[in-house]
Symmetry: C3
Subunit: 225 residues, 3 copies
Amino acid sequence: MLQELFSPSVQHALDLAGIFVFAISGALLAVRKNFDVFGIAVLAEVTALGGGLFRDLVIGAVPPAAFTDLGYFVMPLVASVFVFFLHPQVERIQGSVNVFDAAGLGLFCVTGTTKAYDYGLGLTASALMGLATAVGGGVLRDVLANEVPSLLRWDRDLYAVPAIVGSTIIVLCIRFDCLNGFTTALAVISGFGLRLAAMRFHWRAPRAWNRRSAATEAEAEKATA
Amino acid sequence: MLQELFSPSVQHALDLAGIFVFAISGALLAVRKNFDVFGIAVLAEVTALGGGLFRDLVIGAVPPAAFTDLGYFVMPLVASVFVFFLHPQVERIQGSVNVFDAAGLGLFCVTGTTKAYDYGLGLTASALMGLATAVGGGVLRDVLANEVPSLLRWDRDLYAVPAIVGSTIIVLCIRFDCLNGFTTALAVISGFGLRLAAMRFHWRAPRAWNRRSAATEAEAEKATA
Amino acid sequence: MLQELFSPSVQHALDLAGIFVFAISGALLAVRKNFDVFGIAVLAEVTALGGGLFRDLVIGAVPPAAFTDLGYFVMPLVASVFVFFLHPQVERIQGSVNVFDAAGLGLFCVTGTTKAYDYGLGLTASALMGLATAVGGGVLRDVLANEVPSLLRWDRDLYAVPAIVGSTIIVLCIRFDCLNGFTTALAVISGFGLRLAAMRFHWRAPRAWNRRSAATEAEAEKATA
């Protein structure tokens, strides 16, 4: 029912766009980690499809969309080929990749939330699944690359908050019965815009109280370097 | 049927208590790894709910309890806030946290086993799911924090054995038709008590035969430091 | 229907053989990482059963075979005991272990593909699940051991390609309606033989274009050492 809010072909195109930009981020990390061409493709697939796969397993939508829609599988391969040959150029336009990634974040948190609600989850759980859909692929990417997920690190710009805001707008709209094309677009744009702002102004989340001694800062800086 | 052995509200209260103490252990590791406030919350949620989530996916109980019961989701957030402000105090009482963690271990191996059996798994498989429920969250916590799971390390006190004992008592009671409130409590207390004893007396499992040269010890000590 | 192609008892024996050799590879890594006896058993179980578990969760075959067939669970324990006492000898015969691992790879990609198709996945998705079944356990093994999955590393011999070839032969046979005992054996042997050849002649996949400077090579060599 909710899904009717989007024209199916529009939703599908947006999904594919989100998958493509997430796949680019996975493939770029693989190049940086010096993986071979299969490592690049695997990391691109995992980053692009991991969040949605986790969501579908949890809500019981098996087989997951990632395995029933050929386009979902092909898109990360296209991204991999693209990065394989053009990674110096792609890295130079990292800024624009981040913009696309932010767009993917805004979109995935919204589609994740509505799909979870369609499958009967409660409002809070749906918002949570929206968040997991949006950030799950990136966490899997970092785990496979043997790095601390950037979602968890204090020295990265806010990533979870924009997704939470997008998801929350959707569940509030469902709750107050005002979910429509306009409010959906508003949610996507809120997530997207907040992530852009977080990157632009380097918004960061606080670490635990009393945990900001100079020693810790220096340590963290070293770890980042 | 088996679940009737517990009063639902008692079981729920025990579940929430187990979730809370596991969440504390996740949040404390996040503080030690210098994660930001979202990293703390994510690691608390994953540690507390990961084992049960894995169990529910495997036995086909979707959507998992973690997403249908709001309390399961809120409890780790409470633990995160608690650790965020009070982590120096909480670390000082690490001993008592370990006691609660041991209680969670004893409880989760028992509830995991009975839930798996309720969903039609065999006796051995149920005991296995009990073990996975009890230790799964901790393994996910360590993987996300980019550390070798302490479950696997030889230089940590026994963790799996107490859970195996608790699970085994339950399946033996099911097999010999004597599962009741008393034997269930016995299983919880066995797991709990064995873990306490393992910590108190530093019981450790052996490493592979012929693998205890001085060089290896020194290496391991360095890795631990 | 497809499964009838194999005599069930033959298929089961082959499955157990594949599980055993994968478990050996997991247990050996655990010994090398200095894990205790439970770490060895856990890593053996995860390596042997992880790929099939992932496949069964994705295609909705719950509870997964790993939890309904006692032999699947016992086999890795046997492998663990074996490695626990005999690891110096087993390491000395690493070559023959690799041969068995290659056999497991060839077999798992074929059984994974046919099982996924039996559960209604499309041809491409089935081939993909065959690949995931064959390589999934090894990826989980490396993640738990806190290493970069060897599947992704450029300095390892081809691993994914033999599995892809085996899976592809199966789906082509399904597509052109010529799947039978002979073509199935051909697929297994192709995967097996290609992996052997990749190890023998050190076939490796290329890294990203323009990513082969002397500095990078030196770095990578250091990382490998």
